[in-house]
Every structure is written in structure tokens, then in C-alpha cells.
């Protein structure tokens, strides 16, 4: 009878960080999370948990995991990025986390900030190649230059941005700064000719 399933239909393992459906749990083989279930046994209650034994991570391991998390998250949107863009971002991430040049107390890249940055690239179809820096709190800072004019955008968690434009005029340099949702970034930068930075001119 087709309605009677005798297979153990537990799915193949998955490394995706998606929220799994209730019926089939994702079983990431890389960093197994603690998992457990409470059952009643012989009149008493017991709980069984499984967990991976880990030690306190070293600085190198913490940096590695932060970069790895960013790269794995990128796989969710990789089909919308050109291979060149993806490879460049990964290279920049690696360079920003050089162990030899790491300042004690600095935070590794914030995944939420990195998400905002990549989302901005996708949403605004940014095809230029900004320089990247890492704020001490782990936020991504992207820098564009057009002659002496400069655009600096700090990508904040939650799809927000803090930006600063330095515009050199006949009267001297002018600086404008503000905070805006990333969806509005191109609109609010329009008075400063956003396309010269975003569209790779």
C-alpha cells in the first residue's frame, strides 16, 4: 500500500542555515548545535541532549568562524552576484581579517553589517568596486572616490546605513552626513550624483 511508508525518510544532511521545517530538522555536519527532547521513562522524566564538544576558541578560530559565517550566508544570494563580485568580496573579507595585523579588542566582521552591505549591492545593482574597511565594532565601511570627492558608507545591522559625502566645491570641501535605510541610499545620494560611485563610472 502506498499509504504505508516503511522508509526511514530522514533527509540527507544539510549545511544550509535556513530555518528548517518542523518535520525535518536540518542536521548541519559542521557545527552541530545542542539538541534534545524530553521524554517520560518509567514514571520519571529524562531529557536526552546531543552536543559537540568544543573548546574556547582562539582568536584565529574566532576570525575564521566570522569569515566563514559571512561566506556561508553569501551562498543564499550567490546566484544574484557575479562570480567576480563574490570572489572579490571574499578576498576583501580575508584581507580585513589578517591575523598578523589584528588589533586586540577589535571585533570580527558583523554578519548583520555584512548582510546589509551585500543587500545594498544587490538592491542598488552596484557594479563599482569600493574599498572596504572594518570598524572596531565589526561593521563594514565602504569607500568610494571620484577625484577629491568621496563617499563613505557604514553598513549598520538591520538594513540601515550611515553615510558621509565629501564634495569639493569652489568654496572648499563640504561634508554631509546622515543615516538612512539602505533601500533609500541611492535616492538620498542623488543630489551628489550617486551613479558616479555606484554605477562604476
Amino acid at each position: 500500500m502506498l499509504s504505508t511508508l516503511k522508509f526511514d525518510a530522514s533527509p540527507s544532511v544539510s549545511a544550509a542555515r535556513l530555518k528548517p521545517l518542523h518535520l525535518l530538522q536540518s542536521t548541519s555536519g559542521i557545527r552541530a548545535p545542542a539538541r534534545g527532547a524530553v521524554t517520560r521513562q518509567d514514571g520519571g522524566e529524562s531529557a536526552t541532549f546531543g552536543a559537540a564538544l568544543t573548546h574556547t576558541p582562539t582568536l584565529a578560530e574566532r576570525l575564521f568562524e566570522a569569515i566563514a559565517d559571512a561566506k556561508v550566508w553569501t551562498s543564499r544570494v550567490a546566484m544574484h552576484l557575479s562570480r567576480d563580485t563574490r570572489d572579490r568580496l571574499f578576498h576583501q573579507l580575508d584581507m580585513l581579517h589578517e591575523l598578523d595585523e589584528w588589533a586586540e579588542g577589535d571585533a570580527a566582521v558583523s554578519l548583520d553589517s555584512f548582510k546589509s552591505f551585500v543587500r545594498a549591492i544587490l538592491y542598488h545593482a552596484v557594479n563599482s568596486k569600493p574599498a572596504l574597511a572594518l570598524m572596531p565594532n565589526g561593521n563594514i565601511l565602504a569607500l568610494w572616490a571620484d577625484g577629491r570627492d568621496k563617499l563613505t558608507v557604514e553598513f549598520l545591522p538591520g538594513n540601515r546605513t550611515r553615510w558621509m559625502v565629501q564634495n569639493v566645491t569652489a568654496s572648499g570641501p563640504e561634508r554631509t552626513t546622515s543615516t538612512t535605510p539602505l533601500e533609500r541610499l541611492r535616492d538620498v545620494l542623488q543630489p551628489y550624483n550617486a551613479e558616479r560611485w555606484f554605477d562604476g563610472r
Binding site: F7, P11, S14, L18, L21, F49
Partner: protein, 253 residues
């Protein structure tokens, strides 16, 4: 049942695959030393290796005591870009390719090369299950009416009638034995958090396996396993093609 053959499978230049996994399970556990031996053979192919010891704890609240049972090791290898990863335990080995997916030929060639190395360490073992799982993520624009018209993109869907339409989200899972080809499929789909502003997204997750519980022996030798994976892939492709609409597939071309 019609199945898409390897040679006629559609080619998509921008496939929505965010994760492709091959997994082989064994009914008998090998020793930790053998897992390490196989892992050592693969290490040079990867940039990073991690080892974890798996423990299971049973807490008894009545007696306020706990029992710990060792559940073996998990050795993982990853490429520098994190897109290629292999994980092995005492009873299984899996290969996962994250996006960007580079095509079946490259994927199965990688699995085949690693499997040959692993079999040098383990020998030919009885296999209890060969599984192939593809997780697709489809990002679609939110329409002018501020709705997520998933029905325009996925052919398999829950029919609820007006009381639950329009839906704000969904999830479903289907299991099916394909007795003509001795395979079982587990197909699931759900709305997921959007990653790109102005879009909505859903997953289309297809897992097809040959399980020893079907009563048909699972191949053991590398070449036979790879040949079986090609057959499994054909069913996976057929489900993919049937499950998505032409509008969805147009996005991947």
C-alpha cells in the same frame, strides 16, 4: 513515470540551488581511527579541517543524575570559500556544495574522487542509504498589491480556498515511495525570510534516496554508487521540473 535523463536535463545559467548534498550512510560504524585515516587522505584537498567529538547526555530529573554516551567523531573539511565541504562520522559521509552551484559533472566528479580515497581507507563497506538533496531558494519580487504570488512560481501548492487566501506564508512536506525505481523522495517547500529588500522568497527542497529499507540492496562499490546517484539525480530533476512554473524557470536561464 517520466524522468529527465542526464543528457536532456535543462541547463540553467543561474540555478537557484543554494545547497547540493550527497550523503552515504553505513549500517555498521567504523572505528574513530578509521574515520581519521579516511579524513587524513582527504585533508590535502581542502583548506580547513575541524574535528568535533559528539556526546549525548541523558538527564534524569527524578534522580538528578546524568549519563553521558560518546557518539563518535565528526571530521569536517572545507574549502577556503566555504562552498565545498565534506563531513564524515563513524556511520556516514557527506559532500555539500553551497552556491554558486557549478553543475552536476563537476559535483559528481568531486564526490567520486573523494570517495575513491575514502574507500582506500575503509574498503568496500555495506551501504544502507545513498541520498541526494538539493535545496533551491527562489527570490521573487513583491507585486504591486503587496502580495507574494508564490502560485506563479511553484506548481506544487496547498489548495485552501478563500478562507486562507491570500496566504502570508506556508510550509509543506511530501514523502513518496517511487517503487518503480526503488527510490523514496522527501520534498518540502516553505516561505523563508527574504534576503533582498523588495522581494519574498521560498525554498524548494528535494531529497531523493535509495534506502536499504526498500528491500533492494544499495550499491557498495564506488562506480556503482556514482551510477546510482545519476539515477537518483534523474528523479530529482524530474521533480524540480514538475514543481516549478515556466515563469520561475525563466528566472534561472
Amino acid at each position: 513515470m517520466r524522468m529527465t535523463s542526464d543528457s536532456t536535463a535543462s541547463i540553467y545559467t543561474s540555478p537557484p540551488i543554494i545547497e547540493a548534498t550527497v550523503e552515504i550512510r553505513y549500517p555498521e560504524a567504523v572505528s574513530d581511527a578509521k574515520v581519521k585515516k579516511a579524513s587524513d587522505r582527504l585533508k590535502r584537498r581542502y583548506d580547513f579541517t575541524t574535528a568535533e567529538e559528539q556526546l549525548e547526555a541523558t538527564l534524569n530529573f527524578t534522580t538528578r543524575s546524568a549519563d553521558f554516551v560518546r557518539k563518535g567523531v565528526l571530521l569536517s573539511h572545507r574549502s577556503a570559500d566555504q562552498a565545498n565541504r565534506v563531513g564524515m562520522t563513524n556511520v556516514s559521509i557527506s559532500w555539500t556544495r553551497l552556491a554558486p552551484y557549478e553543475g552536476w559533472e563537476k559535483f559528481i566528479s568531486w564526490v567520486g574522487q573523494d570517495l575513491a580515497e575514502v574507500n582506500k581507507a575503509w574498503g568496500v563497506r555495506e551501504v544502507s542509504r545513498i541520498g541526494l538533496r538539493y535545496i533551491n531558494r527562489i527570490d521573487i519580487p513583491i507585486s504591486d498589491d503587496d502580495l507574494f504570488h508564490n502560485e506563479d512560481y511553484i506548481s506544487f501548492k496547498l489548495v485552501t480556498g478563500p478562507i486562507l487566501d491570500p496566504q502570508n506564508g506556508y510550509q509543506w512536506i511530501i514523502r513518496k515511495e517511487h517503487r518503480d525505481v526503488n527510490l523514496v523522495s522527501v520534498v518540502q517547500s516553505a516561505t523563508v525570510e527574504p534576503e533582498i529588500p523588495g522581494t519574498a522568497a521560498f525554498t524548494f527542497d528535494i531529497d531523493v534516496a535509495h534506502d536499504a529499507l526498500s528491500g533492494v540492496d544499495v550499491p557498495r562499490k564506488s562506480d556503482d554508487i556514482l551510477a546510482r546517484l545519476s539515477e537518483i539525480r534523474a528523479l530529482k530533476n524530474a521533480i524540480f521540473e514538475a514543481g516549478l512554473t515556466p515563469l520561475a524557470k525563466e528566472k534561472f536561464r
